[in-house]
Amino acid sequence: MSMDAQVETKQTVKSTKGDEVVIELAGVNKWYGEFHVLKDVNLSVHQGEKIVICGPSGSGKSTLIRCINRLEEHQGGDIIVNGVTLDNNLKNIDAIRSDVGMVFQSFNLFPHLTVLENCTLAPIWVKQTPKAEAEELAMEYLERVKIPEQANKYPGQLSGGQQQRVAIARSLCMNPQIMLFDEPTSALDPEMISEVLDVMVELAESGMTMLVVTHEMGFAKRVADRVIFMDYGEIVEQNTPEEFFTNPRSDRTKLFLSQILAH
């Protein structure tokens, strides 16, 4: 990987989006015990940009986005989100978490609460929104993910695709500026993947800043402004989707693409 290539592509991307950098990762390092999982990762994400992160399992892509809202602690380098530096200061962590929503591979809905309560919990208890207002907002987002009729059911009564859409609505209820998706469709049955991707495409079109870890290359081609390929804890290559898929630069990327696009 050449640094020049990276800088060059970044600039071409920048021209299409707002200039404001909302996430800045500079020289981020992280270890799990002895295992060096993130190696000197640098990344700037601009307002409204959609980034798809792919790479083989164990390459550190999930860890990378989990560092951004402090579900994992990084041990070296700086992470700056919306001008706030992520450190041990709880106030900074809270400020960043209120700006950043996250959707998990395993949904992680709260099983003891109804769909509506899942969506209103954080607005009521974190932002002190009055209950009626929070419910109105929640219904608005549940309509946006197309399941308002399930509002009074419990998560366990819904299908996987419905649960994941509730999880997206739950995050949106906090009005985040940035959404992180950690393999949102990997735990779904094939016929449910598209209903979740449809919601994500719609969200992307509304101008949300999105970081998506996924192997859905069709989604990447359709909405991504930039595709990042990671391996061994490093960003190997990043480029626009057209360039990335038609003209990959590194041999590692070529091998990965040939493996996942072979069938």
Binding site: N69, R70, L71, D94, R97, S98, V100, G101, M102, F104, S106, F107, N108, L109, F110, P111, H112, L121, A122, W125, V126, K153, Y154, P155, G156, Q157, A167, R170, S171, M174
Partner: protein
């Protein structure tokens, strides 16, 4: 039969209709065949078991009902009538008051009844439909009622602090019930009703608390004036006994051990080393010592280290020992529940920006406690039965009271009947708790399929 409709150009799939299962596999006959007579050996065992059950039941019935003596003035009378072939229930009914209240004076027993009646009435809204703020009512009952009940049971002089606490207890009891009746009848809360009645509803929301405070103060003042006229005699705790003492000790043990256990369990998982080390040492120390030892330490050793002016009350020492011991056990029960909650629940709560305490109280604890209901109620049942150990340090709990009867010259040697009665009483108490826990599990689990 074909599943394909050939006349249409499109292939239409029609599922076959469901047929009923073969006879003899369902219903009562099917059940008996499958479970009792599935093989010659099983048939033999079934018949043998039925015979054993018949022998036991018929003999017990004869002893306990047919040959039993219901009225007598001494054990001798019973023995003269039926010998040992029938139960002498007269011995139980004659001592019934002592089994329940110990040596509490007869003319003062109403205080114990009033105390427990008040507590039950205070907790009642918790089980009524359409009542809001149930947690606040339940918490007020558990936190504030001990002052009122303690005074009713012990009586005597009351200091200013106790007077204030008793008045607070009366105030919150009245407000709990006013709120309960109001919310059952109209669905409104007492708070809203007071605000509306005082004409504050048009004023900004921040001022709404003033009329509510005023109402509290008025009721408090009336309660204070009322209770200062109370004059009830002092009853030494040495007179307390029987089921009364058993319920006091185990009730306080239950009420303290759950919150204390939750705090200890959270402390054990804390990232702060001082808190963690303290909680781990507390839990491991008291879990590795038998309850009898803790009781002995509390009742005989601790007073040696206290100045002579402080003369601790034995039942209080026993209660503290029981609370400490059961909290340590409860902490491990709760920790088991906490560990069963998937990491994703914590992560989702954190990602939404919930603080540690909000995450624990809103997300983790409700799920963990629900999972833990069988174990928690198991601990409660264990605690209720373990309180029989306080008889070792000389408190006349139910068991010691049951045994003491046989020392009476008139009833010398009557062991079986009081103990059978005690066993039945313990069984009823424990069985009710167990059934209630199953009911709780069902109602709390309703609508949450897939977990």
């Amino acid at each position: 039969m074909t599943n394909l409709d050939a006349s249409s150009s499109e292939v239409v799939f029609k599922p076959k209709p469901s047929l009923p299962p073969p006879p003899n596999t369902v219903g009562a006959i099917g059940w008996v065949r499958k479970n009792l007579f599935s093989s010659p050996l099983n048939a033999f065992l079934t018949i043998l078991s039925l015979y054993v059950i018949w022998v036991i039941v018929s003999n017990t019935f004869e002893w306990a009902i047919v040959n039993a003596v219901w009225e007598a003035n001494s054990r001798r009378e019973c023995l003269d009538k039926v010998g040992l072939s029938g139960a002498c229930w007269a011995g139980v009914s004659h001592w019934m008051k002592n089994f329940i209240y110990g040596r509490y004076p007869d003319e003062e027993v109403w205080r114990v009844n009033l105390g427990f009646g008040t507590l039950i009435l205070w907790m009642l809204p918790f089980w009524l439909p359409r009542v809001t703020s149930k947690i606040a009512i339940g918490a007020s009952a558990i936190l504030i009622s001990p002052f009122l009940l303690g005074y009713l049971f012990a009586g005597g002089e009351k200091g200013l602090f106790l007077q204030v606490m008793i008045s607070i207890a009366i105030t919150s009891f009245i407000f709990s019930w006013a709120h309960t009746l109001l919310s059952m009848a109209t669905g409104k809360s007492l708070w809203a009703a007071i605000v509306q009645a005082s004409g504050f509803s048009a004023k900004p929301e921040a001022t709404h608390k003033y009329p509510v405070f005023a109402a509290c103060l008025v009721v408090f003042a009336v309660a204070f004036a009322w209770q200062s006229s109370w004059d009830i005699t002092s009853q030494s705790t040495n007179l307390w006994g029987g089921l009364f003492v058993t319920l006091v000790i185990s009730g306080i043990g239950i009420a303290v051990s759950l919150p204390a256990g939750i705090v200890l369990a959270l402390g054990r998982r804390s990232k702060m080393p001082v808190i963690r080390v303290f909680c781990v040492s507390f839990i491991e120390l008291f879990r590795s010592v038998p309850l009898i030892t803790v009781l002995f330490m509390a009742v005989t050793m601790v007073p040696l280290f206290l100045p002579e002016a402080i003369n601790p009350v034995k039942i209080v020492q026993a209660i503290i020992a029981v609370c400490i011991f059961s909290s340590a056990y409860m902490a491990e029960t709760v920790r088991g529940g906490l560990q069963a909650i998937p990491k994703g629940q914590y992560e989702a709560a954190q990602a939404l920006g919930l603080s540690y305490w909000k995450m624990m109280t809103l997300i983790v604890m409700p799920q963990a406690l629900k999972l833990m209901i069988p174990n928690i109620v198991g601990s409660f049942i264990g605690l209720l039965k373990d309180t029989t150990l306080v008889s070792i340090v000389g408190l006349y709990d139910l068991l010691l009271m049951l045994k003491a009867v046989s020392q009476n010259p008139q009833w010398n040697g009557i062991h079986t009947e009081p103990l059978v009665f005690g066993a039945a009483l313990y069984f009823v108490l424990c069985f009710v708790m167990s059934k209630y826990s199953q009911h709780l599990e069902r109602t709390l689990g309703a609508g949450q399929a897939g977990r």
